[in-house]
Amino acid sequence: MTVRSIFRHETFLALLLVVALVVLSFQSDRFFTTANLLNQGRLMTETGLIAIAMTLVIATGGIDLSVGSILGLTAILVGVFWKSLGLPLPAAILAALASGTLAGFGNGIIVTRFGVPPLIATLATLALYRGLAEGISEARSVRGYPDWFYGLGQGEVLDVPTQLWLLLAAAATGAVILGYTRWGRAIYAIGANEVAARFSGLSVEKTKIALYTASGFASALAAVIFVSRVSTTRSDMGTGIELDAITAVVLGGTSIFGGRGTVLGTVLGLCLIQALKNGLSLAGVKGDGTTMLIGVVLILAILASNLFERGGTR
C-alpha cells in the first residue's frame, strides 16, 4: 500500500512538472531551450546535492539544518587552506571536503551519542559552523583562483555543465542506496519505527552517523562547486540553502516524520521549483511573486498527495 501511494505522489509530481513546463514555455519562447534548461541545471546543483543527502536524513525521521553553515565553512576553508596555509589547490579542496565531512560527522555524533533531537542539534551547529566560518575568514574573501578551477563551476563536459554530471551521479547513487539496498531498507525502518528497528538488530546509530556524515560531505561538495561558480569565497555563502533543500525534499513526497520518501521525488521537486523560479522570471513575474507561488505549490502538492494517500489506504 505504501509503495503504491509513494508511486502516486511521484506520478502526480511528474504530471505537475510537465504541466508547468508546457505552460511556462508558452509564456516565454526563451524558456524551453536546451541552453536555458542546462543553465538551470547548473544553478540548482548545489541545492540538489544537499537535497539528495537530506532526503536520506529526513527518511530516518531526522533533519539537518546545518548544511548551509557547513557550506559556508567549507568554502572559507578552501580559501584558507589554499591562500593562508599555502597548500596546492587540489590538496586544499580535499582538505576542505574532509573538514566539511567531519562537520557532518560531528552532527551525527551529537545526535546519536548525546541523544539530542536532530532539529536542536543541527540548529546549534548551524550557528556554530557559521560562527567558525566568520571567525576563521576574519571577514576577508579569498579571490583569484587559477583558471582550471573555474572549469568545475563554470565549464562544460560534453556540452553539459560540469557540475550537472556530479548531481546526476549523486542522484543515481542516492536512489540506488535508498531504493535497492539493505541499507536503504534500514533507513526506512528507522524512520518508520526506530524502536522496532533497534530491536530487529539494525545498527541504528551507525546508519544515522553515516547519513549525517554524508550530508556534511554533500554540503562540502556543494561549497566547492559554489566557490568555483562565483569565483570567490565569502563566509555568508549558503545562508538559507537548508530551507531550499528541505522544500525540495518535502515537495518530493518525503515524510518529515520519516519512513517514506524517494530520491526521484526529491529530484522532481527540485526541478519543479527551479522551473517555476526560472520560467516565471522569464515570463516577467518579479521575485516576490515567484516566492509566493512556490509556497502555494508546496501546500497544494502536499494537500493533493494527502488526498491521494487517503484514497489509497482506505
Binding site: 516565454s28 526563451r30 541552453a35 536555458n36 543553465n39 544553478l43 560531528g106 555524533i109 551529537i110 551519542r113 548525546f114 556554530l128 560562527g131 567558525l132 571567525g135 576563521i136 576574519e138 571577514a139 576577508r140 574573501s141 579571490r143 573555474y150 563554470q154 559554489f226 561558480r229 562565483v230 569565483s231 570567490t232 565569502r234 563566509s235 555568508d236 555563502m237 545562508t239 538559507g240 523560479k277 526560472n278 522570471s281 522569464l282 516577467g284 518579479k286 521575485g287 516576490d288 516566492t291
Partner: protein, 368 residues
Amino acid sequence: MGKILLSTLFALSVSTSMGFAASPWTGGDDLPTNPLACDATPSKAEAKPYDGGQPTNPPDRKGKTIKVVDVPKIVGIGYFNATSKGIAEAAKEMGNMDAKTDGPSKANIDDQITLIDNYITSGVDGILFAANDPVAIAPVLKKALAAGIDVVGYDANSEPDARQWFVNQAEFNGIAKAAVDSMAEEIGDDGAFAIVTSTFTTPNQARWISEMQAYQEKCHPGMKWLETVEAQEDNILSFNQSNTLINKYGDDLKGIFGMTSVATPAAAEAVTQANKCGSVAVVGLATPNAMKPYVASDCVKSVVLWNPVDLGYAAAYVLRAVADGTLEPGNTSVKAGKLGELQVINGSEILLGSPTVFTKDNINDFDF
C-alpha cells in the same frame, strides 16, 4: 570521542573569536588607500586608461527603444526605491527606454546572480546593477557582455572588466573625510567610536572603512576605534548591534558611525531609546526621510549622502549613451539630462558629484 570533538570545536571558536576581537580594524578591504589632505585641498585626478569590458557584437541600438532591467542589491528599502525612481524618471524623459527594477529580497549574492542570469536568457538590451559582491557577480556580468548586452553599474562596483561603466556616487576618500571630520567635530579629537556596517565584504562599506581608517590615522590620530560590527542591511539587527555597543562600552563610547542607510537610523533609534542623545553622536550615511525625526529632535546633527534619485537617473543616461554609441572608451565626460556633463574618473567610472550634507535647515526639502 564526542566530547573531545566538541571541546576542540569550542576551543577553536573561542580562539578565532579572540583573534577577531584583538583587531578592531576589520571591515576594510586590502586595497591601497588614498586619504585626502586634512584641510580642503582638492586632490589631483590621475589619468587612467579605460579598463572596462566591451559587449560582444552588440546589435545597433542607436535611438531604438531598449529593454533595460535594473538589479539593485536588494529591493524594498528606501535607498534603492530612490535609485529606481531616478531610473524610471530618466526613462520617461528619454522616451526610448523600457526600464524595470527587479532585485533579490535579501542582500544575497546567489539570488542576485540567478536573477541576472534569467534576464540574460530573457534577452534584455541593457543591465543596470548594484553588486552585492564585486567578484562573485563578475562571471554572470561577463556572460551578459558576451551575449551583447550593455552593462552599467551604479552604487556598488564589480570588477572593472565585467561591466562597461560604473556610475560612482562619490569618491570613497571624499565620503571618508566628510564622515570622520563630522565625527571629530562632534566628539573631539580624542573621542572613541564604533562602526555599524553591513557585512565586512560589501564593497562600498569595506572601501569607506579602509579610507576612514587611513584618513583618521593621518588627520585625527588621537581618535580611538573600538570595534566594527556587522549588521547585514537589517533593521532589527542594526538596532541590536548598536544597543550592544552602547551597553558594552558605556561612557567610553562617544560616537557611532552608521555605514548603511539601514544602520544609521537604527543606531540613532538605539541612542534615542538609551537616552544617550547628546552624549553619543551618530554620524553616517542615510536617506533623509529615515533621519528626519532624529534630526528634528537634535539627536543627529548631520547626515551625509549623495542623492540616490540622481544616481539612478545618471545610470540610466549612461546606459542610453552606451547603447547609442555616444559614450565610448576614452571619452572624458558624458551628458546626463538635467545633471549636465558628468566627468569620467579612474578609467571607466563616471563621478556623480560631491556628496550632499543634510542638516536641520535643508532636510525637509528632500523626499526620498
